[in-house]
Amino acid sequence: MNKAAWALVLAVLAIPAMSAGAQHLPGTTAGSPMPQGQVELQSRAQLVANVGSWDILAELLGKLYSTGTPLSSFESVTVGGYYRVIPNLKVGALARLQAGARHDNDVLAVTSDPTTDWTWADSSARLEGVLMLDVSPRFQLGFLPTGNWVLMLKGRYEYNTWNGQMSIMARPELTWFWIRDRDPFLNVALSYEMYFPLNFGSTLLYQSYPYLTVLWHATPEVGIELAAAYKNTSWTQSDSWLVAGWGSYTTTVQSWVVSLGVVYTPSF
């Protein structure tokens, strides 16, 4: 190979490296706290009380995820309700109080430490309120085997009162019910949840994940739920990053979410 050929090969190899350096992505530095493929462990306890056409909902949720040591956590309390307008449509309003949530601006540029270029803001004690409006049409797919299939298309508007961020969540969900003695015994649901940011980020989708949920009805009113999701989150440059003069970036982080829950569904 002559010198010209070697120069061409080196140039091709150098272009991605140069562009990566110019983009200055968080996570490119050794010891970065934004690793790929981490596992988030989630647990939740939920009450859904049915009173006629109304469902009253309350949920406690906790999540642990690794960004080094110690583990980071997210906690939330959600309350609200749904109203069944017609058999195939429910609308709802919910409010959530959360701590430990992370947003784009929680990526803080570090200019004083040569071993890393950024860190997460500590949001563990930061309380945020989220208001949600929910609409969920659903249809029973009687033509499928057993007939016990339901397709739901959930849409939810979310408004974070702490930072003013708004988003739309859309989630198609297909659930199969194993009916035993006329009651659900096991639900298996396959969903794809997508968050569309309305006033933040630079991507169409901020977060998306397919997930599989299995709900075992231990009793007619108590269900044990196990779910797994593969989450994609797109992070866009923070204000701190721009102030540091490091330009813009968009990076997608994948992680696994494993969730264990208990659901109590009394009827009155």
């Binding site: 939920q46 859904v48 049915n50 469902d55 909902l57 949920e59 749904y82 069944r84 058999p87 195939n88 429910k90 969920s136 659903r138 249809f139 029973q140 016990n148 339901v150 659930t175 019910f177 009916i179 003695d181 006329r182 009651d183 659900p184 639900n187 949920t213 709900l215 007619p220 269900g223 739920e225 659901v263 009827s267 009155f268």
Partner: protein
């Protein structure tokens, strides 16, 4: 003197007459809408005061009901679209429900036995108020729902030998007429109208049995 004796005997006769006439029978005490009564080969519109007995078949039409007072202290209320046959009245009183739903109330201390038979199952009374109804027919096998408002009811399936005691406030489903589920409280039974006395208010019960079944479109978990 002789006339006084004759008068007393006449009084005794008249007092005993109803008991004699209806010793092994019952009476239709209230109806709404279309109610027919079949006795032997004759079928006619039922009227308040009609006597019913073994072999009688009472059928109610849509938005109709009937209340029957059986002489063994049992009152039965038939909901709309119900078909109830009287098998026997007396020491052992038995009725067979072939469609629809009935409320049963023991108005006094029960002497002897009382049972409501359905396809495949028998609900034997140890209590005072219970409800038996046909639900959906799935794979050509009808479900039967039963719930107890007061006392205890013994439900049995002679074919399988399964017997379950259902206490006050709980109900069961006889799945396809073949299997009795464990007794439990059903929210839908709280809406049942147990009243059998028109003087005390509305007698009609329009609780939908569809509520007994899980509505797959009403399952939300987040």
């Amino acid at each position: 003197m002789r006339s006084k004796v004759l008068g007393f005997l006449a009084l005794l006769f008249l007092a005993g007459l109803p008991a004699f006439l209806f010793a092994a029978s019952g009476t239709i005490v209230y109806t709404e809408g279309e109610v027919s009564l079949r006795s032997g080969s004759e079928t006619r519109d039922a009227a308040i005061g009609d006597a019913v007995g073994p072999g009688s078949l009472i059928v109610t039409g849509p938005r109709s009901l009937a209340v029957i007072d059986l002489t063994n202290a049992t009152t039965v209320k038939l909901r709309e679209r119900t078909s109830l046959a009287i098998d026997s009245i007396g020491e052992s009183t038995s009725v067979t429900l072939t469609a629809g739903a009935v409320f049963t109330t023991i108005t006094r201390k029960l002497t002897g036995r009382f049972a409501v038979q359905t396809q495949g199952a028998v609900c034997g009374v140890r209590g005072t108020e219970f409800f038996v109804a046909y639900g959906r027919t799935i794979d050509a096998k009808p479900d039967v729902w039963m719930c107890v408002n007061d006392g205890t009811v013994e439900v049995s399936i002679p074919q399988t030998g399964q017997t379950v005691l259902v206490p006050k406030g709980l109900g069961i489903n006889i799945v396809g007429g073949e299997k009795i589920t464990a007794p439990r409280a059903y929210a839908w039974t709280r809406k049942l109208n147990w009243n059998i006395d028109p003087q005390s208010g509305a007698v009609e019960d329009r609780t939908s049995l569809e509520q007994a079944y899980s509505d797959l479109l009403d399952q939300d978990y987040d």
